[in-house]
Subunit: 216 residues, 3 copies
């Protein structure tokens, strides 16, 4: 079944890009020992903000929208500069940033999953593309900064939240839910899983503990 | 000269994907100090199983087959979960796994090389695409796990085996060999080089030793 | 406004590829502790020489020219082998190599920026594609070698030189400058910024110092 892409107003999407740029800059700033220079911080900001969208389009063999349109890059880069400047103030606003970050993950995940479905990708592929769209920016950031890719490791639940949201969208679309509602539902699921995980300190089992549990 | 893509029965290709998923999971499990969580292990498994195929299609500017069809992802992910569960039993079966791994490398290399040729890529480009298809999954795994990319380093011969197989296919196709025979021949060359290397502890010269040899 | 791609004679482009291969090999050779084998050095050489061009085409959703044509890969690989063999002699020629490297950066940056513009990419996107084309090879090299990505860090100015050159091309094209002149001007800007940075030991401010400056 072909479906429409979940489209959100450009303003919201740009806000999401801005938040990504901000967070990328704050992240780079929190790793001052790496001596990333000013332009490097902007590059990291762009990666976090737009990396997921870029990787989504590369994997879908489509011209990347963030490259073609000026607005995404401009907004994300400006936000990265802002984040760098206001770093000391912003790092105190940890909880609001976590909430906004979860919303951004949810929105980008829903956009990616529905874009994949609209191109005729199968359900499982759309799930993978959704996860890439949702957390790809963070993966790109970690690769560029030569750090362990955080979404793979115990204690983040990023990937789980992204997968849950993408799965929700696929189920809702299969039930013929209008794409606007399906997209909002998908983003809500991602946000709920992510924030619950942060709040209650949920973690996904480490592979070792899984083995142990099965043996005892 | 345009040629047909070397196609193998879907069943065999899925078996190859399964084996990749299995090996990725075993690999992640052998690096328990990294604290990769369960979903992380599945992601590593998918990367090993399907990364070569994905990178091949990205480099060839084609829609990635592993994204469009559900079966590859499902099979590889299930195999990764299985590998994680049976890890203790499977790590004892080292030699059979090495043989199967070599066969998978050979098959994916032959598929990638012939797909490149069929799209009109030149011989040298097809060789590179063949190597990417054969060992790209392992490279992606190492990048995601923030490890040294093993195929670049002394003592693996992975890249050499992949290049030998791709070269064999290109020569056989140039001699107008039917693609089924050329593909099988190519895979056989990769398997032979790889297993001989493991058996006899062959290594490719380190760049330093090359220099030393030339100076003495 | 649609513009023509800045095209340089194939001979010069191949010379640039050769220089990239040479530098990649010298770089790998200077990190002997990594124990990169001979084929690994060739792979690093290809990444430096052709990685920027490959990433440019992937991001632009075009069939990568370096894969389709044989010549780039052949020339870059031969140069990598040469670089490995003559390593001791060449490392003494540091200044000429730095100059040539800056010229290559400038040329690949101008080609990438103009190719993006000719495909209808916006100015900001073309700037980003120009930077990718100019320094993407070095980024790929660092990722494959599991090193910090040098262009992000204090003291290189690579990214700044690449961005300045790309911006120059965009401005010149907006002023209706013929593409040959715009391309040459763009490359000149990159070379000038890069060499001035090396000569005068310019660095771009670290993010930390920016913050300190604002507070004092």
């Amino acid at each position: 079944m072909r479906v429409a892409t979940f489209e959100i107003p450009l303003g919201i999407e740009l806000l999401a890009a801005a938040l990504g740029g901000l967070q990328g800059a704050l992240f780079a700033a929190a790793h001052r020992d790496r001596r990333v220079d000013v332009l490097g911080v902007v590059i990291i900001g762009l990666s976090v903000a737009l990396g997921g969208s870029l990787l989504r389009d590369v994997v879908l063999d489509q011209p990347p929208v963030v490259i073609w349109a000026n607005s995404y890059l401009l907004v994300a880069a400006s936000a990265a500069v802002l984040g760098m400047t206001l770093q000391q103030t912003l790092t105190r606003a940890e909880w609001p940033l976590t909430v906004l970050d979860a919303i951004v993950m949810g929105l980008f995940g829903a956009i990616a999953t529905s874009k994949a479905l609209s191109l005729g990708v199968g359900d499982v592929g759309a799930l993978v593309v959704g996860v890439i769209g949702s957390i790809g920016g963070g993966v790109l950031r970690d690769i560029l900064m030569n750090r362990p890719v955080s979404v793979l490791h115990v204690g983040t639940l990023y990937a789980v939240a992204a997968a849950a949201g993408a799965a929700a969208l696929i189920v809702l679309v299969a039930l013929s839910t209008p794409i606007l509602i399906a997209g909002a539902g998908s983003a809500t699921v991602t946000v709920a899983v992510r924030l619950a995980a942060v709040r209650r300190d949920w973690t996904f089992p480490e592979q070792g503990s899984m083995r142990l549990r099965r043996r005892s």
